[in-house]
């Protein structure tokens, strides 16, 4: 038995169902631990006071938001080059999670900006690129929902995602360039004070929480996508869950 076997939706469906609760459990544990470290143990920042604690949510979600797009790009390349349905379904399942992570990063960024910079929104390079990233996610999701034929949607979204992945570093670089050209309009974060190691630990644990959460949610979502797309297939009708639901 090889890993290749799991490239078929029918084989992957039970595997995903088996793995998802474990990742969800791990996400829950890490969240509790991370929040406890972040809000209970980590000391108050001598410059920013308590407000800085939002980074325990902000930074992991910002990391995830970019990482998820790259993973989408990876699955899209697979989907286009090998024409595998499951890869495209993985990319499809990742998009909403990536968009949510981006949104959370933007939202918490604004909440953090208010007490520290005195404004909800600054045209900071990172915030601006994050906003554009959100539009990229919306674009992929909108294209998906506008195309009726799932196979065509798979491939069109894959092309768009790959083009977007090539563009993300360029967008990031261009926004940073633009930002330095218009100095004074924003506050630089690169000069942030050295972080205590306990803060770093809290952020690391919360990053794992975000990872595990994303994996669990994506697995569940991919299960739903598989069911929806393969509803005519015999193996779906044989699923115990569905059989008991019908009976």
């Amino acid at each position: 038995m090889s890993l290749y076997r799991y490239s078929s939706p029918a084989a992957f469906y039970p595997l995903a169902g088996m793995m998802a609760p474990w990742f969800a459990g791990a996400a829950l544990l890490c969240t509790v631990a991370g929040l406890w470290i972040g809000f209970g143990i980590a000391p108050t920042d001598f410059q920013q006071g308590e407000a800085y604690r939002i980074i325990f949510i902000h930074v992991p979600s910002a990391w995830m938001s970019m990482f998820v797009y790259l993973v989408m790009g990876f699955w899209s390349v697979l989907a286009l080059s090998f024409n595998t349905r499951l890869s495209a379904m993985m990319a499809q399942a990742l998009a909403p999670t990536g968009a949510i992570m981006t949104f959370v990063a933007l939202w918490t960024g604004a909440l953090w900006g208010r007490p520290t910079w005195g404004t909800y929104w600054a045209w900071d390079a990172r915030m601006t690129s994050e906003l554009i990233l959100l539009f990229l996610y919306f674009g992929v999701m909108a294209l998906r929902s506008a195309i009726d034929d799932p196979r065509r949607a798979d491939r069109a979204c894959a092309v768009l995602t790959i083009v977007g992945s090539v563009n993300i570093p360029i967008i990031y670089f261009s926004v940073q360039w633009w930002n330095t050209l218009h100095q004074g309009a924003s506050v630089s974060l690169t000069a942030a004070p050295k972080m205590a190691s306990i803060m770093l630990l809290g952020m690391l644990v919360m990053s794992f929480a975000a990872w595990f959460y994303a994996i669990a949610v994506v697995l569940w979502r991919v299960q739903a996508i598989i069911l929806e797309r393969e509803r005519g297939a015999a193996w779906v009708a044989e699923l115990p869950k569905l059989r008991s639901a019908v009976a």
């Binding site: 286009l80 554009i132 539009f135 990229l136 919306f138 674009g139 909108a142 294209l143 506008a146 195309i147 196979r151 065509r152 491939r155 069109a156 092309v159 768009l160 790959i162 083009v163 977007g164 090539v166 563009n167 360029i170 967008i171 670089f173 261009s174 926004v175 360039w177 633009w178 050209l181």
Partner: protein
């Protein structure tokens, strides 16, 4: 006579022949519907004219806004013209024949994009200095903003073609196209409008223009292939 004509080209189905076919045909078609092109250009002029009315005719403000306005208007005009890049060829079956032609499809697609730029992008570049005068831009700023549009608008056509191919025959094509493409336009906008800003700040615009040039090269290499892939997906 005909024997010498056939030996003139080396490979029977070369990229150059494809390019010539697509450019000649699309230019001829564009010339036959000149009024449409005029409308697109007018749109550009009107958008540029609206900004001072919406803010203020104050001179220093206009000179600050000018390059950015010219660029945003160029973006919008390009977006307005893009849905038609492939739509009629898609509807009447020409796109099928393009996809099945023995000529390399990316070259045919590039020819169409080039013709699109010549008929929609180039007029914008030519008009830009004139409209820049409305904003009180001085000669160095006018030169740079025109130059940046000259390098940048082909990138808009190339990137836009990808979006146009992906949204062929799709519900809400036009606004969906805007959602897909505008985020990708961001770097072009920044480097393009930034070039004139740099000049106004007394700096050199060469870094901005070089980066635009690099972007043009990247789009030139990648976009025809991505667009060809998008068209094949739409035809499937």
């Amino acid at each position: 006579m005909s024997a010498t004509a056939t030996t003139a080209t080396e490979s029977p189905y070369g990229a150059f022949g494809a390019l010539r076919w697509a450019v000649a045909r699309d230019l001829k078609l564009a010339l036959r519907s000149r009024a449409e092109l005029g409308v697109q250009l007018l749109f550009y002029v009107i958008v540029v004219t609206l900004f001072p009315l919406a803010s203020s005719p104050e001179k220093t403000l206009l000179a600050t806004m000018g390059p950015g306005v010219l660029w945003v208007a160029a973006l919008l005009a390009s977006l307005l013209s893009l849905p038609r890049l492939f739509a009629s060829d898609f509807a009447d079956g020409t796109l099928e024949q393009i996809a099945l032609s023995p000529y390399p499809m990316p070259a045919l697609v590039f020819g169409k994009i080039l013709a699109h730029w010549l008929t929609t992008g180039l007029p914008i570049v030519v008009l830009a200095p004139l409209l820049g005068l409305q904003y009180g831009l001085d000669v160095p700023a006018l030169t740079v903003v025109t130059l940046s549009l000259l390098i940048g608008t082909p990138i808009l056509s190339l990137l836009g073609a990808i979006g146009a191919s992906l949204t062929l025959g799709v519900r809400g094509g036009g606004s969906l196209l805007a959602l897909l493409i505008l985020p990708l336009y961001v770097p072009v906008l920044i480097f393009g409008a930034g070039a004139a800003d740099a000049v106004r700040a007394g700096l050199s615009a060469s870094a901005n223009l070089s980066l635009l040039g690099a972007g043009l090269l990247l789009a030139f290499v990648g976009a025809p292939f991505a667009t060809a892939a998008g068209i094949r997906i739409a035809l499937d």
